[in-house]
Amino acid sequence: MKFTRREFVRGGVSAFSIGFAAPKFLCDIALAQGAASRNLVVLYLGGGNDSLSMLVPYNDPFYRSRRPTLAVPAGQVLQIGADSAGTELGLHPRLTGLRTIYNEGRLALIQRTGYENSSRSHFEGTDIWSTANPLITQGPGWLGRYLDTIPAPVDPLHAWNTGAEVPHSLLSRLVAVPSISNPAGYAFQSPNGPVDAALEREAAIRMSSHLPMHRPHLAFVNASAQSAFATLDRVATVGAYVPSVTYPANGFGQALRAVAGALATQIGTRIFWVQTGGYDTHASQSGSYANLMTTLNDGLLAFYQDLNQLGLINDTLVLQFSEFGRRISENGSGGTDHGAASVMMAIGGQVRGGIYGTAPSLSPDPANPTLENSANDVRYETDFRSIYARVIDGWLGADSTAILGGDFRSGLAFL
C-alpha cells in the first residue's frame, strides 16, 4: 500500500480542477500539441526478464554449464554479430521479427542496464524503475514527472495506459492518466432510451465536475470520471480503427493495436504504456519463455509493420524494460530466480540500431567484474537512468536533469 498515492489526492486536487477543461477545447489542444510531436511507447515485461535468454551470449564458455537445460543451442540462436567487447550474441530463436527490425537498423539492444544494489523484489524493483531513484520508491513516476512539466491545461488523453492499472511510472501529480485496454468497450451505458441516456450522461458529467477541496478522496474519483467523459468520444474513434496488418489475438497484440489506432486516428495521445507479463520464470522456463518470446515478437512485428505503412515509424519510439534480470545459473526447477541487470530495447525509425554495452562474462569466479552477488547475477554497466535521460532529452524534448533530479546523460547514442 503506497500512502503517497493518497498524498497525490491531496496534492493533486487543485491541479485537477485547474487542468480540466471542456472536451471540445481539449481536442483543439491535442491537435495543436500534436502538430510536431513524437510518440513514446513504453513496454514493460512484467516479472523480471531473463535477458540472457532473449539476447544470448551463446559462445560464452560457461553459458551451457550454468544453464544445462535452459541454454539455447548455438545453432538455433538468431546470430546478430558481436558487441564491442567481441562477445558473440544471438536473439532467441522466436524473435525472427525483431531480427528483421534489427537488420533494418531500427532495433537497439542495450546490455547490462540496471543500477547499484539492484533490488530482487518485484515490487521494490518496479518502484525503482518507476521513480527512477533507487533510494525513493514512492512518489510520482518518471513519466508522471514529465507530464507534470507540460503547460496546463493538459489533454487528459496525452498519455494512455493500455493496462488495467495505472503504472507507477505514469503516476503524476497533475495529470490523471486514463487506463483503456479495450477502446471498443469504452462507452457510457444507460438503462433507458436515447433521450434519458443523454440526460443521464449530462447529469453525470455535471456531478463529476464538482471537485470539493475538503473531500479530496471524492474529488479524486470525480476527476477520474471527468477524465472518462472527456475522452469517451475520441476513444470511440480509435475503436473503429481497422489496421492493415493482423495483430495477434492476445492481450499484448490487442494493446499494440489500440496504440496504433490512437496514432492513426490522431487523437493526440503521445505517451503509451503497454505491458505483458509472465516473465517471473522460476520454473519450467524453457517452454514458457519461448511462448513469451513468440508473444513479444509477433506483437511488436505487427506494430512495426503497421506503423511503417501508416508512415508513423519515424515519429514513434518503443522503449522496453523489466524490473530486473534473472540469476545466471538455472535452479532445480528448470527456471531462474530473481537477479540483477538486464537488457533494454529501443525500436523506432529514428533509433540507431545495434548492440550497445557489453555482455557479462558468465565465469563463476567471484572476482568476475561483470557479475555480482558472488558471481550469481549480472552486474549493471549502464545506469538505466541514462537511457531515460536520452529519451527525455532527445525524444520528448524535455530536461532530463530536472525530471530525473540529476545528470544521467551518457554517451550511449542509441537515439
Binding site: 500500500m1 498515492r5 493518497r6 492499472e165 485496454s181 457510457f188 470539493p212 532445480g332
Partner: protein, 488 residues
C-alpha cells in the same frame, strides 16, 4: 424504521453492505450487538450455499451450459459466481470479508495453476469445499474462510502447505540440491515482516528451511478423481543448520539447528512461528487492517498501530480479538472514517446488488464488468494482490462501475418502478427515497441539484407509473454510478 447510520457503516466495512431488511434488523439490535454477531459468526449457521438456485435470490449460470450442473469446484467461473453469491447473500458477512482480506494478503492466481494442471484441478485447489473434494481437502478460499479469524500462525502454516500456494510460489519444486526462493522471499516480504526487515541471505536460508515441502499426486495423471496433496519429502530436505538475521527462538537465537531429515519439517514451523511473532508482523497486519476496515484517506497514528499490534501479541496471534479491537476502536467510528474507504470492485458490485435489488440477477453477467473494474476473483495481478485505494479508479474502471450500475438498474427496472410507486409524488420525494435506500456518501448541493435536474429533464413531472419506470432506474443508475457511491 430508519436505519442506524453507525450500523450501516459497520455493515459496509465488516460486510458487503446491507439490504433494507438487514439494515433495519441490525439497526434494531444496535451497534454493539451487530459487532458481536459479525465477529462471533460461528453462532450463525453457514447455510448460504443452500440458497443457490432458490427463487428470490441472485442467479448462477453453469459455465458449461444450462443443461450442465453448476460446478464451483470444477469451473473457475462457477467458483467466481458462488463467491459473489456468498458476498451478496452472506449470513456471516465478516467471515466472507476476511476471506477476501486473506485472498488479497496471500494473493494466489488461478491462471498459473491452471497452466500447470488444467482448469478443473486448479479450480478444485482454489475453491472446492471439503465436501466436494475426493479426499475432503479444502480449496484455498475455504482455508481462508476456516481461518478467517483464528490464529494467524496456524493460517501461515496451512498456507505454506496449501497445494495452490505450492504451485503459485513454486514450493513444490523446492529441493535440497536446488532450493527455490520464491515462497521464502514472499513469506517474509509480503505475508509477514515486510521489506526492510530481512536481508537477501535470509531468503536463501528460508528457501532451505522449506526444502521438501512439496506436493504429491494421488491417482494417475488422467484419473478424474486424482488430486494433489501436500507431502513432506524428507529425502529432499536440507538438514544443515540455517541462520537468519532476526530471532527465531524466544531466547533470541537466530539459528535453526541441523536436524535429521525425518524431523526437518520443524525447521519450517520454527520459521513460521518466528515470523508470526515478529513485532513487525503485528504492526503490518494492523496497518493492513486499518486500510481495509477503517480509512484509506488518512494513515493510522502510531499509537493506534501499536495498540492493535499489542492485542495481536497478547492474543498470541489470534485474529478474532484483533479484528474486534479494530472495529470497536473509536477511530473506526470517528466521523472522518465514514466513507473514507474506496470500495473494491467486488464490494461495490455486492453492495449495489444488495441495495438496488438482486432477484433474478445473473451473477455471471457481473464477471466481465468486474474484470473491467480491475478485479477478477481468484486472479489477483501478482503476489502483492490488487493495487487498492485510488488505484481502483482509473478512467476505464470508473466507466465500468457506471455501466454496471446501468446493468443492474436495467435488470431491476420492474422492482424499482414498483418501489418508487407511492414515493414519487415530487422529484424531491423520489430522490430522498432513493438516497435513503442506497446509502451513498453525502451529496453536496451541486450534485444534488444535478440529480433533481435529471428527474425534471425532458418531462413535466407528474409522478405517473410510466415516468417512474424511466426516471427511477435512471436516477438509481446515476447514484450508484456516482463518485459518492464508490466510497464506503
Amino acid at each position: 424504521m430508519a436505519a442506524d447510520l453507525r450500523v450501516q457503516h459497520l455493515l459496509r466495512r465488516a460486510g458487503f453492505g446491507a439490504t433494507r431488511a438487514e439494515a433495519e434488523a441490525f439497526s434494531q439490535r444496535g451497534f454493539a450487538a451487530t459487532l458481536d454477531a459479525l465477529v462471533d459468526f460461528h453462532r450463525t449457521p453457514d447455510d448460504v450455499d443452500a440458497l443457490i438456485g432458490q427463487p428470490g435470490y441472485a442467479v448462477v449460470t453453469p459455465s458449461a451450459g444450462m443443461s450442465e450442473p453448476f460446478s464451483p469446484s470444477k469451473s473457475i467461473n462457477d467458483a467466481r459466481q458462488r463467491w459473489l453469491f456468498r458476498m451478496v447473500h452472506a449470513r456471516r458477512p465478516l467471515q466472507e470479508k476476511m476471506a477476501l482480506f486473506w485472498h488479497q494478503h496471500f494473493a494466489t492466481a488461478y491462471s498459473k495453476i491452471a497452466n500447470a494442471v488444467g482448469g478443473m484441478a486448479a479450480t478444485q485447489m482454489m475453491a472446492a469445499k471439503r465436501s466436494e473434494h475426493p479426499a475432503g481437502l479444502w480449496g484455498q478460499i475455504e482455508l481462508f474462510r476456516d481461518y478467517a479469524l483464528p490464529n494467524f500462525r496456524d493460517l501461515l502454516f496451512e498456507v505454506a502447505r496449501d497445494p495452490a500456494m505450492l504451485f503459485w510460489l513454486d514450493g513444490r519444486l523446492n529441493t535440497r540440491a536446488r532450493p527455490q526462493e520464491n515462497f521464502a522471499r514472499e513469506v517474509m516480504e509480503l505475508f509477514t515482516i515486510g521489506v526492510g526487515q530481512f536481508v537477501e541471505s535470509d531468503v536463501y536460508a528460508g528457501a532451505r528451511v522449506f526444502t521438501g515441502w512439496n506436493l504429491q499426486r494421488i491417482g494417475e495423471a488422467r484419473d478424474p478423481m486424482g488430486f494433489y496433496q501436500f507431502f513432506y519429502n524428507a529425502a529432499q530436505h536440507d538438514t544443515s543448520e540455517k541462520t537468519v538475521s532476526f530471532p527465531i527462538y524466544p531466547d533470541g537465537s537466530k539459528t535453526i539447528p541441523a536436524r535429521a531429515a525425518s524431523g526437518g519439517m520443524q525447521d519450517g514451523l520454527d520459521l513460521i512461528a518466528a515470523l508470526a511473532r515478529h513485532p513487525e508482523t503485528g504492526r503490518r497486519l494492523a496497518r493492513k487492517l486499518w486500510s481495509f476496515f477503517v480509512s484509506e484517506v488518512h494513515a493510522p497514528d502510531e499509537a493506534w498501530v501499536n495498540r492493535i499490534a499489542s492485542v495481536y501479541t497478547l492474543a498470541d496471534c489470534h485474529m478474532s480479538p484483533v479484528v474486534r479491537a479494530v472495529l470497536a476502536s473509536p477511530e473506526f467510528d470517528a466521523p472522518d472514517a465514514y466513507f473514507a474507504r474506496f470500495s473494491w470492485p467486488v464490494e461495490f458490485a455486492a453492495r449495489a446488488l444488495k441495495e438496488v435489488g438482486y432477484t433474478g440477477f445473473a451473477l455471471n453477467r457481473a464477471l466481465g464488468p468486474l474484470s473491467n473494474m480491475g478485479q477478477q476473483l481468484f486472479e489477483p495481478p501478482d503476489v502483492a494482490g490488487w493495487e487498492r485505494g485510488t488505484a481502483w479508479f482509473t478512467t476505464a474502471a470508473m466507466l465500468a462501475r457506471m455501466n454496471f450500475a446501468s446493468m443492474v438498474t436495467s435488470q431491476q427496472r420492474n422492482d424499482i418502478a414498483a418501489l418508487a410507486t407511492g414515493n414519487g409524488a415530487t422529484p424531491e420525494a423520489l430522490l430522498s427515497f432513493c438516497l435513503d435506500r442506497l446509502s451513498p456518501a453525502p451529496f453536496e448541493q451541486p450534485a444534488y441539484s444535478s440529480l433533481l435536474d435529471y428527474l425534471r429533464g425532458g418531462i413535466t413531472w407528474n409522478g405517473s407509473a410510466s415516468q417512474l419506470r424511466v426516471k427511477a432506474p435512471g436516477l438509481i443508475h446515476l447514484v450508484v454510478g456516482s463518485s459518492e457511491y464508490q466510497l464506503v
